[in-house]
Amino acid sequence: MLELILFSSLNGVLYGMLLFMMAGGLTLIFSMMGVLNFAHASFYMLGAYFGFEIAKHLGFWIGLFVAPLLVGLVGALIERFGLRQVHKHGHVAELLFTFGLAFVIEEVVQMIWGKLPVDYRVPEALDFVAFTMFGTTYPAYKVFMLSIAIGMFIALLWVLTKTRVGLIIQASLSHPHMVAMLGHNVPRIFMLVFGGGSVLAGLAGVIAGPALVTQPSMAALLGPILFVVVVLGGLGSLTGAFAASLLIGLVQTFAVAINVSLSDVFAFMPFNPQVGTVLGDLWSVTVAQVAPVIPYLLLILILIFRPTGLMGNRET
């Protein structure tokens, strides 16, 4: 039991930090530009595939640095030549633009790298066991992922609170017109933030690619979860996004580890619905099987009962 709690917490925190690497950028983009970026998870996928391609020719470590920058470049170009064009048609058009973009990126990735998962492996230097506890091993690569994610978090915090660029970004979150009147080029800040967010998503992709599966559906699997995190945390709140990322990460990891169904809990009762009926299905489904549904339930509940999210201060 202790073993389960320990490893699930570790994995949950790791998954939560990965989520935050993407949700952080998404929150910044959303609160600043009002665009709910459907393609954000696609940048994560692009990061994984770029990392894979570079690792094949030049090695993992070069990919770790170059791939996120490439993704950032792609993101900045899309903002400059696509999103800015759509901006005048309003938020719905912007949302639909990113929706179409996610669609196209998935198709292009499928065309270039195929529909099957690619063989993106953990680099040899990190392919060993970090520690063993209660007879279960923990791979060094996961420790590496965790440290990158924490490092990124500290760097983001430092940039946003201690540097001039960060101050301008924070100011244009709440008062974009005032920032423009002070002589700052707001469209360029938008491009910078969009590119920066893409870099973070790309970095998450590069390090998550070898640990999870690098396949064309990875964006579609993760995208909706990111929205859950951003809405749950509260729009415009980075701290909220951080808390929500950890919460979702932990909830999902623990749920997957619990193999209990209603029929197990109420085994002492004479009531026992027949297998093969809808009620029977619901009765015998385990918590692990419901795990993918939990974030969406949370999303719906929070939007109904606390529309500002956990720590946000404005309504969706």
Binding site: H91, F99, E107, F227, V293, Y296, P307, T316
Partner: protein, 412 residues
């Protein structure tokens, strides 16, 4: 009187189409177009009429489809007394029922929050479809045999032509009903909620109630579309409640145009036709579909219907001939650019996907070449760039022609 003449005309066209296109494939194609037209129109009741962007509309279509397929199975029993023709009512009721439940939850909010709730609900149902295997049939889905039902007026609906007429009849009445709704005071209030919810509240209407009613009506018609799909395919699988299906109806509706009643029908017909015919020619048709959507979002926010309807006043004023020369001039570089873009996509698709199994050789109108050689690529990119550059020169002509027409129309 002239306004209403279009409805008997549409009915006649639906009746006559099978005599013109009588092959099996075109019958299937037309049946599918009708189903998608109802589905897209029901979606537009939300997006176009009431201004609610939903990412989970397939829920009502898919759940109604599943309920109808189960109804087909039950009605196919020995004591069957109900004909196939009433099965869409099962779909409509199912759609309405789930729209009542989910709509009550989601229409409390508008705008982005509504979009997010609809996304969450869509994912929720899609995920549950994999858990409740006895209802959704797991991976292989649920199938039924529509010809086992009691015959109606001697028709057993085994043949596609009979099914086409059944679908066409339901489509006609569903479209008529949806159009009628837009003409009622409620339809007008829905438009008011879309345009300015605050003022709609001020004149004494509850915007939440109007959103809720819109949502329920939309779910009902999506349910009819789902039931028609169940009748047409005789099989339903988890894909029909998935996010991909919700995305497809959004793309169709938007490409067709959300601002005009006929837009979604246009989009549904065009996309279904492309889906069926393009997939024979190219493996990259999904990519074209996505690129088309992005281009529409960027340059044609009114969709295809918006583009066509913009010409209506010009035609009425008799100034169309002033636009045609500019259009013809602009068409030349546009076609060059388009063919360049298509060539790039096809070369890439061939080199990256097909070359692995068929080798790099490909041929266009009898000319053989390798998709990995540099010359075809240079030609394709050259065409694309030339078209793009020439377009920049011809586009101002179109704009000038339009401003001239506008000026003339103002003067008269």
């Amino acid at each position: 009187m002239k306004r209403y003449a279009i409805w008997p005309l549409a009915a006649l066209v639906l009746l006559a189409l099978p005599f013109v296109f009588d092959s099996g494939t075109s019958l299937t194609k037309m049946s599918l177009m009708c189903i998608m037209a109802v589905f897209a129109l029901s979606y537009n009741m939300l997006l176009g009429q009431t201004g609610m962007l939903s990412f989970g509309h397939a829920v009502y279509y898919g759940l109604a489809g599943f309920m109808s397929i189960h109804a087909l199975q039950i009605l196919a029993g020995p004591s069957a007394s109900m004909p196939l023709i009433v099965v869409p009512i099962v779909g409509a009721v199912t759609g309405l029922l789930f729209a009542l439940i989910f709509g009550w939850v989601s229409t409390k909010r508008a705008g982005t929050a509504f979009a997010m709730i609809s996304l969450g609900l869509g994912e929720l149902v899609a995920a549950s479809s994999l858990i409740m295997r006895s209802f959704f049939g797991g991976e292989e889905g649920v199938s039924a045999d529509r010809s086992k039902l009691a015959a109606w007026l001697g028709l057993d609906f085994g043949a596609q032509i009979q099914v086409y007429y059944l679908i066409a009849a339901w489509t006609f009445f569903a479209v008529l009903a949806m159009f009628a709704i837009t003409q009622t005071p409620f339809g007008r209030m829905a438009n008011a909620v879309r345009e300015n919810p605050e003022r709609a509240e001020f004149i004494g209407y509850s915007t939440q109630m109007i959103r809720f009613i819109s949502f329920c009506l939309s779910g009902t018609f999506a349910g009819i579309a789902g039931a028609l799909a169940a009748i047409n395919f005789e099989i339903m699988n988890a894909l029909s409640v998935s996010g991909a299906q919700s995305g497809a109806v959004l793309l169709m509706t938007y490409i067709g145009g959300v601002g005009h009643f006929l837009g979604p029908i246009l989009g549904a017909m065009l996309i279904t036709a492309l889906q069926i015919s393009l997939s024979d020619y190219t493996g990259a048709w999904m990519l074209y579909f996505g690129l088309m959507f992005i281009l529409v979002v960027m340059y044609l926010p009114g969709g295809l219907a918006g583009l066509i309807m913009a010409h209506e006043p010009v035609v009425r004023a008799g100034h169309l001939q002033r636009l045609i020369p500019a259009y013809l001039l602009a068409a030349v570089p546009a076609i060059i650019c388009l063919s360049g873009a298509v060539a790039i996509v096809e070369l890439a698709h061939h080199a990256l996907v097909k070359a692995a199994t068929e080798g790099p050789q490909m041929s266009v109108i009898g000319i053989e070449f390798s998709s990995k050689a540099p010359i075809p690529w240079l030609v394709a990119i050259g065409l694309f760039v030339t078209g793009l550059l020439l377009s920049r020169m011809t586009w101002p002509r179109v704009r000038d022609a339009w401003s001239e027409v506008h000026l003339l129309m103002k003067q008269s």
